[in-house]
């Protein structure tokens, strides 16, 4: 749009004073200001979850994704370090079957049943996911419904950082989505074609079918 005299917007990024132009994102402002050591930038469209920032407006402190947040006068921005490695471990191939999943879930994520409903995760989610409600569903074994709530999750793990019970909601969400596909997605059109290929219906060179 025509903004030949875009207003100048002063802010600080990682302690450096920056004069940005109105309409810039925090990432663009960091580039413009030549702020050193800004590493967590990736897709620039809010889906890779890398550019996690802490924002301070007076006494109000929030978190966000820098590539999707626009500059505001006086705002203090700090780029957060990458999240640490997850503490919950599982390999989906080791689950016996769909009957086994609920028991295994509570072994792997024992904290999930202890949500204290503090809303920390919900407040920190840049995708407006009702993380707290999804955790309740997961703890009740409703993995399909819980996973569906994480549909727009970008794995920024800001919710993990906010959770006082160390539930790791982002990884719980992914667990829910993965077991739903792994145990329940059985599309007839795909299975039929795989079967035709196995029987040699089509002459295609390539990998042997099947594991």
């Amino acid at each position: 749009m025509s903004d030949s005299a875009a207003a100048s917007v002063p802010l600080t990024i990682n302690g450096t004073a920056v004069e940005a132009l109105a309409g810039m994102t925090l990432v663009e402002a960091a580039w413009r200001g030549g702020v050193p050591r800004v590493r967590g930038v990736g897709c620039l469209e809010g889906v890779c979850g890398s550019c996690r920032v802490l924002l301070r407006r007076g006494r109000d402190v929030t978190v966000a994704l820098a590539c999707q947040t626009f500059v505001e006068p006086g705002i203090e921005v700090v780029f957060l370090p990458a999240p640490s490695a997850p503490r919950h471990h599982y390999e989906i191939e080791e689950f016996a079957d769909g009957w086994d999943v609920q028991a295994r879930f509570h072994e792997i994520f024992p904290e999930a049943a202890r949500c204290r409903h503090c809303h920390g995760c919900v407040r920190s989610c840049p995708k407006d996911i009702d993380v707290e409600a999804a955790i309740v569903l997961a703890a009740a074994g409703r993995f399909r419904d819980a996973g569906a709530m994480f549909f727009e999750c970008v794995m920024c793990e800001l919710c993990d950082g906010a959770c006082p019970e160390q539930i790791a909601p982002a990884h719980v969400g992914l667990f829910c989505r993965r077991v739903t596909a792994h145990f329940h997605l059985r599309p007839p059109n795909l299975i039929h074609r795989l079967e035709e290929l196995r029987q040699g219906r089509y002459d295609v060179s390539g990998m042997p079918q099947g594991e």
Binding site: M1, S4, A6, E45, I92, R177, L190, L197, M207
Partner: protein, 533 residues
């Protein structure tokens, strides 16, 4: 470039979602259109390489500068550098790298996956439209092969295309086993879409978040796998060769965190570093992520690998012009496949929207060059574009955009644009590297011990990729290379050297070329300077 057109305000005021768009003009000769308007054919865009395995071949100018350049390191830098040994080293943490790492680890190998940025920060995570697999009753593998070859102007390697297609259905099954969800129909079948250049509906997808769903699942599978170690913020700055500079035996990794170098010694290296959109070829904006700087091409070329189709790049027809901060970002072809039309500044249709991408892009560029584009004036730059008529699509299929394209709505919402009401101003954007490193059906390059997979590899898509084949190739060839790398029988390197770097330096000197340019690029130089909005 000609910067005249119809002003944004006038075009927006004249826009009606129910206006008569006039008859579609016939396209008599697509080849003439491509020659006149496609960026690959711009004068000065292609130069001849003077040194290396492709000496004499045409190559995009900006890329040639990086291929024919000096390395960042020499032997002196390696003294005292810590060394790590592993069975398989995977370089690049997008979809192809993760698929390769998982396939190798599934077969018992110890895998080290090193990536430049965060694991999963990649072109893969942004993919929207979907992935091809010939699974519908009216479709066959043969049709998939023919469509791919035709779409690529018959420049692809037929053996690679056959392998790509053969992997399709099993790749989807493998993804489901890893925990990836797909859109299904009421009967539980995978939902399929038909896009440009396809003879049957063949795109399976997860609404318009296919890449995000794929990437977050593969990322989690890699993180959770005991056999895979992940090093983030660790870009490869050079490969390592044996004493004769003939075999790849490892890599030197840098660090974005502390700047230190590390050496990794291994039996096989799988390069999966993706594309090069952030080189902004011919000054175009790009749909790619920040790490897409063509590093893998540079590393492979320096160690002697042959490359192909270095003069062929894909400019996707519908990159956003508005909102500004999303400049160059993609509107998936799925939106056109669903029925959205392209309309110029005079309110006319000008091209069949589902022709191959190179043709549609050339047609948009022609409209803009000939003064029928829509002109958007900004502080930094003047930009031209045409409408992608999403409100008309919404009128004909109410609710479709919200159901099928939530990512599009989510991204534009922040800037107060609603594609259900506002037509989107679009312009071609640098999207995909059609060619790349020459490989066989296992992803092996012409250098022993070195594999290349994903967008980095060439020969699968010829000179134009059709939608959905990239996500398929990263899984199919990624897994193939992972399997082949484990089977490598060599007992591992005795000595790791930079002999290939010395060889390249001699060639540069002989050719009278400067030793002052260094590559790979690693990150675009945006900080403090200009970037392509």
């Amino acid at each position: 470039m000609n910067k005249t057109g119809i002003s944004f305000a006038a075009a927006r005021a004249a826009y009606r979602p129910d206006a008569d768009l006039g008859p579609l003009p016939a396209l008599t000769d697509p080849d003439t259109l491509l020659a006149a308007c496609h960026p690959d054919h711009l004068r000065g865009s292609v130069v001849k390489l003077a040194i290396g395995a492709n000496a004499g071949d045409g190559c995009q100018r900006e890329l040639a500068e990086l291929l024919q350049a000096e390395a960042f390191i020499d032997e002196a830098d390696l003294a005292g550098t810590p060394v790590t040994d592993t069975d398989v080293l995977v370089i690049g943490g997008g979809g192809a790298g993760c698929a390769a790492a998982l396939a190798a680890a599934e077969r018992g190998a110890r895998v080290l996956l090193a990536t430049k940025l965060r694991l999963g920060d990649s072109n893969t995570v942004m993919a929207e439209g979907g992935i091809q697999a010939a699974i519908e009753p009216d479709d066959t593998p043969q049709q998939h092969i023919s469509d791919t070859l035709r779409g690529g102007h018959h420049a692809a390697d037929p053996a690679l295309v056959a392998a790509l297609v053969a992997d399709g259905p099993d790749a989807i099954r493998w993804l489901i086993r890893q925990g990836m969800q797909f859109e299904t129909t009421a009967t539980g079948d995978l939902h399929t879409r038909k896009a440009g250049g396809m003879s049957a509906a063949r795109i399976v997808h997860c609404r318009d978040y296919t890449g995000l769903e794929m990437m977050r699942v593969l990322r989690e599978a890699v993180i959770q796998h005991r056999g895979i170690e992940v090093w983030e913020q660790s870009p490869a700055v050079e490969l390592l060769s044996n004493e004769r500079g003939q075999k790849c035996v490892g890599a030197v990794l840098g660090s974005l965190a502390d700047g230190r170098l590390r050496i990794v010694r291994t039996r096989s290296v799988i390069l999966a570093t993706g594309g090069l959109g952030r080189l902004h070829l011919n000054g175009f904006p790009t749909s790619n992520h920040l790490g897409a700087t063509g590093d893998g091409l540079v590393l492979a070329y320096r160690i002697g690998a042959k490359l192909r189709e270095l003069d062929s790049f894909q400019y996707h027809p519908t990159g956003l012009v508005h909102p500004t901060h999303l400049s160059g970002k993609l509107v998936t072809e799925g939106v056109r496949a669903a029925g959205a039309l392209l309309v110029n500044g005079e309110g006319r249709r000008f091209i069949d929207e589902l022709l191959p991408r190179d043709v549609v892009s050339a047609a948009i560029l022609r409209e803009c060059q000939e003064g029928r584009g829509i002109l958007s004036v900004r502080t930094d730059k003047t930009r031209l574009g045409v409408w992608l008529d999403t409100p008309r699509l919404e009128r004909s299929q109410p609710g479709l955009l919200e159901r099928q394209f939530p990512k599009l709505l989510a991204r534009t919402r922040g800037a107060g644009i609603d594609p259900r009401v506002d037509p989107l101003l679009v312009h071609p954007t640098l999207h995909y590297q059609n060619g790349g490193v020459l490989i066989d059906v296992n992803g092996a390059t012409t250098v022993p011990g070195l594999y290349a997979v994903g967008e980095l590899a060439g020969g699968i898509h010829g000179r134009n990729r059709i939608m959905g084949n990239a996500l398929l190739d990263i899984i199919g060839f990624g897994r193939r290379a992972g399997v082949a790398a484990v089977a490598e029988r060599d007992r591992g390197p005795k000595k790791v050297t930079l002999e290939h770097v010395n060889r390249m330096r001699r060639a540069l000197t002989l050719a009278g070329m400067p030793l002052t340019h260094k590559s790979p690029r690693l990150l675009p130089a945006y900080a403090g300077g200009a970037w392509n909005r």
